[in-house]
């Protein structure tokens, strides 16, 4: 919401500087986003009257002007613009002036002629034609500016004399005199050789001495468009030039008030609970309460007395009563459509609204001032003199004012006449009842519509308007009548038409007044403060709450105030949040801390980081094609995922049931960034269907991913083992896993702790890696957090250090290639007896010296007794037992 400080001044006088104002309003709850000083960049620019113009002696396109700036002697300025004439009032940027965009103007020399400043265009002042519609420039095609595209074959002969034919009825003419005509037009006296002619034209670039082309049939001066010429053929005949002022101002006046650049516009962020603050009056009330200033409001007074009886012209029906709590309308006849006055245009402009014409401007003005959206219909097009507020029929069509065509359904509320829809209620009027130049009778609508219906309608049609944005927050039902009266008052003030007596006011659902009890003790107890009751009363009254003893009547526009806590907020806002004490909680203490699961999370993270893995965070949603990329067959039940019905895009449309695609994507991305030796982990969730209440079963997965020189299957396995050791998991078994489609069938293992499957690890299947654009080996592990939590062992209990020395025996074994290390180790352990303490593999060898199909594995065994130093004979006996068992069960022999 934008607020003009000048407009605010009409209701409450605030002298605070922009910064003070912003600070104070922000702290009382109306957050100021920014303040724009409309004229901050403009200095030393004044109004000047063109006193004299002569052509530049050394230029074919410049003029040397003398400007009266209200001082004794005029100022000489050289300009290349052609649209000014003697007598025009123009903005003059004097020597050492500044303009928007940080532009600085200094005096200078233009082709040997002194120029003491610059005449300004609209754009140079930071404006455009929408700000000053009358300043639109039309250019005639002047023969003296003609530059043929092909000098050999000019379209207009260089020797052409006045009266010569150019084509058809178009003749060359010399301008003998130029005088101002009606409505900014110019009267040109033309010499056509044998005859003379006076033509009125909107073209502003014509001066005595110019040669132009005139259409003798239509009696018009030809523009570039008229003769189908290109701009480069007439380089100086452009629709641009100096801003010729038609404002009430005099030479020497500062330009800022003339173009309303002396205003400051404050941009507020208004929270959705305060639609009343989406208006100048609403913000004025907040400002008055904030600064302790007096709020001066104005009661609209309508003289009325327009010809005829309102009831003869108009009836209103509201069959959709639930969606239209109130409908208020008045009528104006004998309307004269014209531009609205400068003050109104300025106020609209400063609030960011484009002026259109007096009637439309009045509706916008009232909307800004009162916060009540208004609509004006051309009565001609309200067929049958009847307005019906109803739900649209399915398939009903309507073209809105912006020219967009909509197909509606029963969820949309329309304003209709006897036969058809003429407007989208609360959103935008219909093109078929638009106020146009010859509109003579107008119906003003000031209604209250259901916020949700308007919001959903606007959303469905993709056309959120200023009006719908207000309605959707729920407006004050009591505001429709004052607003329509204000519009009619403005019609009379502007002399824009005759207001009929009487008002149509259909009240389907009027609000019950809200009465609350002021409970100062409870308010103070909630705030932890000690605000005196009188202070509370003063604050509430400053916001137009009516306080009678301890009875508080809430104003109709404060739909957000319903109970004690709401009153507490009002008190706190103006007492000052920052004036409330700052205390520490008393009361019962609670025992805080991490749960077992959270502690485990922290430990897992710390462990894998120690192993070199960096933490990543990936999106929980993935593309459905991710399951294809990790090579899950289409029948894989794990593909069953939560599907977002309104995703941002296909790529983020389903909730992942595996973290693998997320990890692989990040690995591939890092590889594409040419990052070497990457190790990553994430403790992230997967989401399976089938949770309680239709929710998901959300499980956390510790995912590891890596590529690079220092990673292979065993390096990855080492990290997984480190994790399991850290959590003291027991009975850890790695089983070959050849059927997991994402992984290399010969380099993948499932990890078990006892019966619990903890997860999977391995090299990513080359085809899967390829799906992520990777030729190199990628590695990943997926460990189920719940399983890790389940298998994590109890806190350690100290085991006494050995009292007696241990004996080491190394065994080099030869066994069949198919005999796994786990099998050999298992066999050694089972046969080892009470002295065997540790079995450590230290070498694997295949090649020369080892028979085909066999391999050698070497183990270091640690043997020890708790009763005394182990005797050699006991050690020998143990080793012999182990060897015997190895040979019998696995066919393994000593090398």
């Amino acid at each position: 919401m934008n607020l003009s400080r000048k407009w605010l001044d009409e209701f409450v006088k605030i002298t605070a500087s922009d910064r003070e104002f912003a600070e104070a309003m922000t702290l009382s709850g109306s957050k100021v986003e920014s303040t724009q000083d409309l004229g901050a960049e403009i200095s030393n620019v004044v109004v000047g009257r063109v006193a004299e113009m002569v052509r530049h002696p050394n230029s074919d396109h410049m003029w040397v002007c003398q400007l009266d700036i209200g001082k004794e002697s005029p100022v000489q300025i050289v300009t290349g613009a052609w649209n000014i004439h003697v007598g025009d009032l123009v903005p003059v940027a004097l020597h050492r002036s500044t303009l928007p965009g940080g532009k600085r103007i200094e005096k200078g020399n233009l082709r040997g002629v002194k120029s003491n400043g610059m005449l300004c265009s609209l754009r140079e002042l930071g404006l455009d034609e929408r700000d000053f519609p009358y300043a639109t420039i039309t250019a005639a095609a002047l023969v003296n500016d003609y530059r043929p595209i092909d000098p050999e074959k000019p379209s207009i002969s260089p020797e052409a004399k006045p009266g010569d034919k150019v084509f058809g009825p178009v003749r060359v003419a010399a301008v003998t005199a130029v005088e101002p005509g009606e409505n900014g037009a110019w009267k040109c006296a033309l010499d056509l050789g044998e005859s003379a002619l006076t033509v009125e034209t909107p073209c502003q670039n014509i001066h005595a001495g110019d040669t132009l082309m005139v259409n003798t049939k239509k009696n018009t001066v030809c523009t570039l468009a008229d003769i189908h010429a290109e701009q480069r053929e007439f380089p100086n005949c452009i629709p641009d030039g100096i801003f010729v002022l038609r404002e009430d101002c005099a030479p020497g006046d500062d330009i800022k008030p003339v173009i309303n650049a002396d205003d400051r516009v404050v941009e507020f962020e208004i929270t959705p609970n305060r639609p009343d603050c989406l208006s100048v009056i609403g913000l004025a009330r907040e400002a008055a309460a904030t600064f302790g200033a007096e709020l001066t409001l104005h009661e609209p007074v309508v003289r009325g007395g327009g010809p005829g009886e309102l009831s003869d012209y108009l009836t209103v029906e509201t069959p959709a009563t639930d969606l239209c709590p109130r409908y208020t309308a008045r009528m104006v006849r004998n309307v004269h459509i014209a531009p609205s006055p400068k003050w109104m245009r300025e106020r609209l402009r400063s609030m960011g609204v484009r002026p259109i014409n007096n009637i439309v401007d009045i509706t916008n003005y009232v909307m800004l001032e009162y916060g009540q959206p208004m609509h004006a219909f051309d009565y001609r097009y309200v067929k049958g003199g009847k307005i019906i507020v109803r739900r649209a029929q399915d398939g009903e069509e309507l073209t809105t004012l912006d020219g967009a065509r909509h197909t509606l359904n029963a969820n949309h509320l329309v304003i209709a006449d006897d036969t058809r829809a003429v407007g989208l209620a609360g959103i935008m009027g219909g093109l078929n009842s638009e106020i146009v130049a010859d509109t003579t009778d107008v119906v003003f609508e000031s209604a209250n519509f259901d916020g949700t219906c308007i919001r959903k309608g606007a959303l469905a049609l993709g056309m959120r308007t200023e009006a719908s944005a207000k309605f959707e927050k729920g407006l004050d039902i009591m505001n429709t009548l004052p607003a329509v009266d204000r519009a009619c008052e403005l019609v009379e003030l502007l002399g824009a038409g005759e207001v009929l007596d009487g008002v149509i006011d259909i009240q389907n659902k009027m609000p019950e007044p809200v009465e609350l009890t002021l409970e100062p003790e409870k308010i103070n107890a909630l705030l932890g403060a000690d605000v005196p009751e009188e202070e509370m009363v003063r604050i509430l009254r400053s916001l137009d709450f009516i306080v009678d003893g301890r009875r508080v009547s809430v104003p109709s526009w404060r739909g957000d105030v319903r109970r004690m806590a709401d009153l507490a907020e009002e008190v706190a806002r103006f007492y000052g949040y920052n004036n409330l004490p700052s205390t520490l909680m008393r009361g019962e203490t609670t025992k805080g801390g991490y749960s077992e699961a959270q502690k485990l999370e922290n430990r897992l993270g710390a462990t894998v980081r120690t192993c070199g893995y960096n933490e990543i965070i990936t999106y929980s949603f993935i593309s459905p094609t991710a399951y294809d990329k990790i090579r899950w067959p289409s029948s894989d039940p794990r593909r069953e995922s939560f599907k977002i019905l309104n995703p941002l895009g296909e790529d983020t449309s389903i909730m992942r049931t595996t973290t693998l695609p997320s990890m692989l994507e990040i690995l591939a991305r890092n590889s594409n960034f040419r990052n070497k030796d990457v190790k990553l982990y994430e403790l992230g969730r997967v989401y399976y269907p089938g949770g309680p209440d239709g929710l998901a079963i959300e499980k956390k997965i510790l995912t590891l991913g890596a590529y690079g020189e220092d990673i292979d299957f065993y390096a990855l396995k080492g990290t997984v083992e480190a994790v399991l050791r850290e959590i003291r998991a027991r009975d850890v078994v790695f089983e070959p896993c050849a059927d997991e489609p994402s992984y290399h069938p010969g380099r993948c293992a499932a990890v078990y702790c006892g019966e619990t499957r903890v997860g999977i690890l391995g090299e990513i299947h080359p085809l899967c890696a390829k799906n992520y654009g990777q030729d190199q080996e990628l590695y990943a592990a997926e460990l189920d957090f719940e399983a890790l939590l389940a298998v994590h062992g109890p806190d350690p209990v100290y085991t006494p250090l050995p009292k007696y020395p241990s004996v080491t025996r190394d065994l080099a074994l030869i066994a069949g290639h198919e005999v796994s290390v786990a099998a050999i180790e298992g066999c050694i352990k089972r046969a080892g007896g009470k002295y065997l303490r540790e079995v450590r593999l230290f070498d694997i060898y295949e090649g020369p010296g080892i028979p085909e199909g066999k391999r050698s594995t070497a183990y270091s065994l640690t043997l020890r007794s708790d009763e005394g130093t182990l005797k050699d004979s006991d050690a020998d006996e143990t080793v012999a037992r182990i060897l015997k068992s190895l040979e019998e069960t696995l066919g393994a022999t000593l090398r």
Partner: protein, 341 residues
């Protein structure tokens, strides 16, 4: 013989004084003190001396032996010191050569910020709560005063899993307030960090998935002044003692009164600069006293119990903490980024 011994002593001590290596020293030891050494040779001649001279000569020979022995010991010390010095010299390293690399992985910067936050709240008696991301609209909205028709429920803002808009991706961590109220004994002090989802396109400040930290206290006699006191303490712990805060009125459907909390800009100290967009303050979080209706819906009597709640964006906090200027870096997971923290 006497002269022989004196010469021997003189010669031996002179040679020992000039000895330069371990081998030479050993050679001298053998030469003088060895079984076939010179002292032994002289002692062997003792037999030829008259008996009365023997004790004195024996004494002298022993003195000479002792002198040579201590000479050898002194030479040995010297030789060893020289050898050590030479060894140390030869072993000298270029200590500017980089050490052997140990690669330790890093915590994601956002979780670093979260860990700091958790520690602060746990120290104040809070419990850390975890909850579902696929959530009921009832808990995410209805139970937090955002009834049917509230704009945040629109399909343009929130992700849904069913046509009835019943199951959704939580758009805030606030449903954890409701879950805590429904499942925990009073009084309650919790924080609940986690992922939340909104339908925002990815840019430098937006992401469809981001993280919030919810906090809530319910107890008897909890006041807005307590909310201020607690948050001020947290801010000082996060941003340093003496960091100023500012409480501004705001609106949230589930708190009343509601506020937003700003911290004074760390860059300009409140004067106004590009970092704080000229305001001198940076928005930190939203908070407020739990709306009595929210308590009522959870079966908690607002006449007896009161509470406050807050919620803030973790990404923004981490970005400020580490001066990260683009949110996309958080989810891009480029190790060149991750390794910096």
């Amino acid at each position: 013989m006497r002269e022989k011994l004196a010469r021997l002593r003189e010669e031996a001590l002179a040679r020992l004084g000039a000895v330069s290596g371990q081998a030479e020293l050993e050679e001298l030891r053998v030469k003088y003190l060895g079984k076939k050494g010179e002292i032994t040779a002289i002692l062997r001649e003792m037999g030829r001396l008259p008996a009365e001279e023997r004790p004195a000569m024996g004494q002298l020979a022993n003195d000479v032996r002792a002198a040579i022995e201590s000479g050898i010991a002194a030479a040995k010390t010297k030789v060893e010191a020289a050898a050590l010095e030479a060894r140390l010299k030869s072993e000298a390293l270029d200590v500017t050569v980089p050490g052997r690399e140990v690669t330790v992985g890093k915590r994601h910067p956002m979780y670093v910020a979260l860990d700091e936050m958790k520690e602060i709240f746990i120290g104040m008696g809070f419990t850390v709560l975890d909850g579902p991301e696929v959530e009921l609209a009832e808990l995410n909205f209805d139970r937090l005063n955002a009834e049917e028709g509230h704009p945040s429920r629109d399909w343009s803002d929130t992700f849904y899993f069913d046509r009835d808009s019943r199951v959704m991706l939580r758009s805030q961590t606030s449903p954890m307030q409701v879950r805590a109220m429904d499942s925990m004994e009073l009084p309650i002090r919790i924080i609940a960090p986690g992922r939340v989802y909104r339908k925002d396109e990815v840019d430098a400040t937006h992401s469809p998935m981001f993280h919030q930290v919810e906090g809530m206290v319910i107890d008897k006699g909890v006041t807005m002044a307590d909310l201020k006191g607690t948050l001020n303490t947290v801010v000082e712990k996060l941003y340093g003692a003496g960091t100023k805060t500012r409480f501004r009125p705001h609106h949230f459907p589930f708190t009343e009164p509601s506020c937003e909390v700003d911290v004074q800009c760390h860059k300009c100290g409140g004067a106004g600069c590009p970092t704080c967009k000229g305001e001198g303050w940076i928005e930190l979080l939203g908070a407020g006293m739990i709306h009595p209706h929210v308590l009522e819906m959870a079966g908690i009597d607002p006449e007896v119990w009161s509470g406050w709640a807050f919620g803030f964006g973790l990404e923004r906090t981490a970005m400020r903490r580490f001066m990260i200027d683009d949110l996309r870096l958080i989810f891009e997971n480029d190790v060149r980024f991750l390794r910096q923290f």
